[in-house]
């Protein structure tokens, strides 16, 4: 079957196989920021925003994304300019190997849209599904706090 999905503002009409997962479709379309790790909805490395909400693309059928809006980290920032969340992650050393980072940044974007000034416990709770094996999480918490300050205009 064919589906129409809008990824980061660009419309794709794409042929999919039955039971194809959104992760595979997005990677095939060239959105390589969507990373395969557990392939069983337990690590969140493949998180994208579907109509603004974080979903695990390894367990979302591509067919259900028909006619909907997908956002990946490739759509953040403009040209050479990083989005404030990306900037905060870079500055705070929140990315070591980087494999979990695109999904974490997208989940953070969704979090900060709902709660622009989250507490540490809200950050931990909202991002709990995003496994990171490198950082020990602390730098990432610092980065999310910094990103929230950037987005609120409290820090440049």
């Amino acid at each position: 079957m064919k589906i129409t999905i809008n990824v980061n503002g660009k419309t794709h009409v794409v042929k999919i196989e039955s039971a194809e997962m959104l992760l595979d479709t997005l990677r095939r379309l060239g959105y390589k920021s969507v990373h395969r790790s557990c392939d069983s909805a337990s690590c969140s490395s493949c998180t994208v925003l579907l109509d603004g909400n974080p979903v695990l693309s390894c367990c979302v059928f591509s067919a259900t994304a028909d006619g909907r809006f997908v956002e990946t980290v490739e759509g953040l920032g403009s040209g050479e300019e990083l989005h404030p969340i990306q900037k905060a992650f870079l500055e705070e050393g929140a990315s070591q190997c980087g494999y979990c980072i695109p999904s974490l940044i997208m989940t953070t974007k969704a979090l900060l849209a709902v709660e622009p000034d989250p507490t540490e416990s809200e950050i931990r709770e909202m991002l709990v599904g995003n496994i990171c094996r490198c950082t020990g999480y602390e730098a990432q918490t610092r980065a999310v706090k910094k990103a929230s300050r950037y987005l609120r205009g409290d820090e440049e």
């Binding site: 990315s95 190997c97 094996r133 602390e138």
Partner: protein, 778 residues
Amino acid sequence: MTPLAEEKIREFNVVKKNTDKVDGKALVSGKPVYTDDFDARDELQVKLVRSPHAHATIKSIDASEALKIPGVVAVLTSDDLPRVCFTRAGQGYPEPSPYDTFVLDRRVRYVGEPVAIVAAETEKAATAAVKAVKVEYELLKAVLSMDDAMKPSAPTIHPEEEASGIFDAERNIAAHFEMEIGETEKILKDCDVTISRTYHANTQLHAMLEPHVSRSYLDPNNRLVIVSSTQVPFHARRILSRIFNIPISSIRVIKPRIGGGFGGKQALHTEQYVAAVTLATRRPARLIFTREEVSMATNIRHEMQYEVKIGASKDGKIRAISMDGVSNTGAYGEHALTTLMVSGSKTLPLYNKVEAVRFSGNVVYTNLPPAGAFRGYGAPQGLFALDCIVDELATELGLDPLTVKEMNSIREGESSPIFKLMGEGREGVEQIVRSCKLQECIDRGKELIGWEKRSKGMLPDSRRAKGYGCAIAMQGSGIAKIDMGAATIKMNEDGSFNLLIGATDIGTGSDTALAQIAAEVLHVTVDKIIVYSSDTDFTPFDTGAYASSTTYVSGNAVKAAAEKVRMQILQGASEILEEPLPNLELTLAEVHSKETGKTISYSDICTQLFYTFNQRQIGATGSFVGEESPIPFMATFAEVEVDMETGQIDLKKLVSVADCGTPINPVQALGQLEGGTMQGIGWALFENVMYSQTGRMLTTDFFTYKVPTRMDYGELICELAESYEPTGPYGAKSIAEIGIDSPIPAIANALYDATGIRLREAPFKSEKLLFEILSREV
């Protein structure tokens, strides 16, 4: 503390600053940087047929049905491959690990071991073909525990005659080591107090997020090119050359960005299979493991058990220590001897004031997944036993455990005979501890945890018990006289430099730290350093990303190369400016004459030398091998609460303060410490590998194998102590591994403090603790 070391702590231009990661922008932008992101045309998809049995011989393999599936191109079995015995372990050469492995063998030794390689046009066809390959097995008795491995009735796991380097194949002993300094037993008998205990650290999964993956193809000159998620590109090239009997000159290994390793990618896991397919079909090939394969069929941590004896005088002075261990290397002896030795050599020198010390151990084969390198490399298993027994000794003596650790541990300017006696797989090197801020780490840790004000026992109006524990740890910085790193730097006419390094950044940030070292020497900003690493065709040799070596070993190599380039820049400037060398100095991207005030930019120097004047390339290669392995130190403190009715363990706070010399990039160094510490917390409390009765790993995904999440700990505070290692690049030593060493003993000690129950088998699951609480009540 010696004044000498203190004097060297100073301000730098680039080093000790929080430069953004040189690959950071690409990583936070989701750029295609990992092995699986590079789509290739006409590429075959590779999958492996794996054994469902822990121990069996293969009677026959019938691929006829599989080959009928549309799109299936090849099914390779042991008959199609060279019968060459090797070790997958990526280590120095000659390897200290036994040659006991074939790409495919006629015998399988663990559940999940590959028995055939399938290549197809699509992943779907390859998956279908894997299911269609019919394998007939003859089952053998399986050895599923360390206890069973050495029993006279145990079957021999490695009877193959081609194997070499196995200590005692008949008795399933892959490796053995023993050493003694002084008369340990005699002194133990003579001590005021002597205790003996057994500690058991279970295995752990690396659980790096990027699965093992590699691609291979033939370049236009028919050279074999491998792109791989490897920590050891140069070792991979050497091992592939041996297996397939093709010259090293015909192989190129490229490491792109890596999604985490922790030792789990310090062996050949995928490369040999894609290479076999490409060599057989002359076509590109790709193999990416599923999460289940990553867990059950790559490498895991060596499970180790130690019987420890310790003796002391009444005042708490430790007089003798004896450690006798057994380590489980699973089906193959990868890193078997060396992890055993490190569990002694990177723990026992902590207590260097003993009159006698003994260490021995056997590493046994079992029919479980092969163990391999894993952050800490044996040290955390050894430290669990050693630190806890010192803690128990103090309790026995009625002394404060931390006081006993402080009064007996090593200090700056001191040494230990163990440094010479125990290296990795062979003799080590004599060295003195030139930088040690262990006491400062302890003092700061005490402050951060509130050690002096701590109260223990039952919390008021609750069923929760509170306790505190501490542990001290050491590690190394590369393997002395074995690990070698090299760097090449060449100058461009805009004043930028290409830094070509064999060193392998697996997410640690070593590309950035090494760029900072080059920039510091060359007096430029980091953006003038263009880093390219880990490509066997284009970068000089480096042993790879392991043994906490990169900052120290490769860092010193970069410094050596940069210093040569610096001299060449001055020489070029001297010729152009017609000024004698002693007049000249480097300022930011310029050469300046102290005498005449004349100044010339790097860009002008290089442009003239390229195009118009005394034409030549400025560039140099430097290499470094450590004469010693400087020791980072750390103190860890844990605060726990235990629900005495459910056994639930709540890690309220954990503090780790480490001495890594100069942190080349403080944010990244702290990240290594925080990350290592969290892996230690996971291993202490949650990460529990389980097997079925037939030896199949049951905990192969993140539902069944629990790595710590953001909600599983209270407060984590990591800090770096101020220190300077005189032999390190700008005073640096290592930080990558040490974080994982001490959480297990610190948490064990805290749990004892809270409950009076001493857990001697890690991980410390709540149900285990509850069982102990209930047993005590009965």
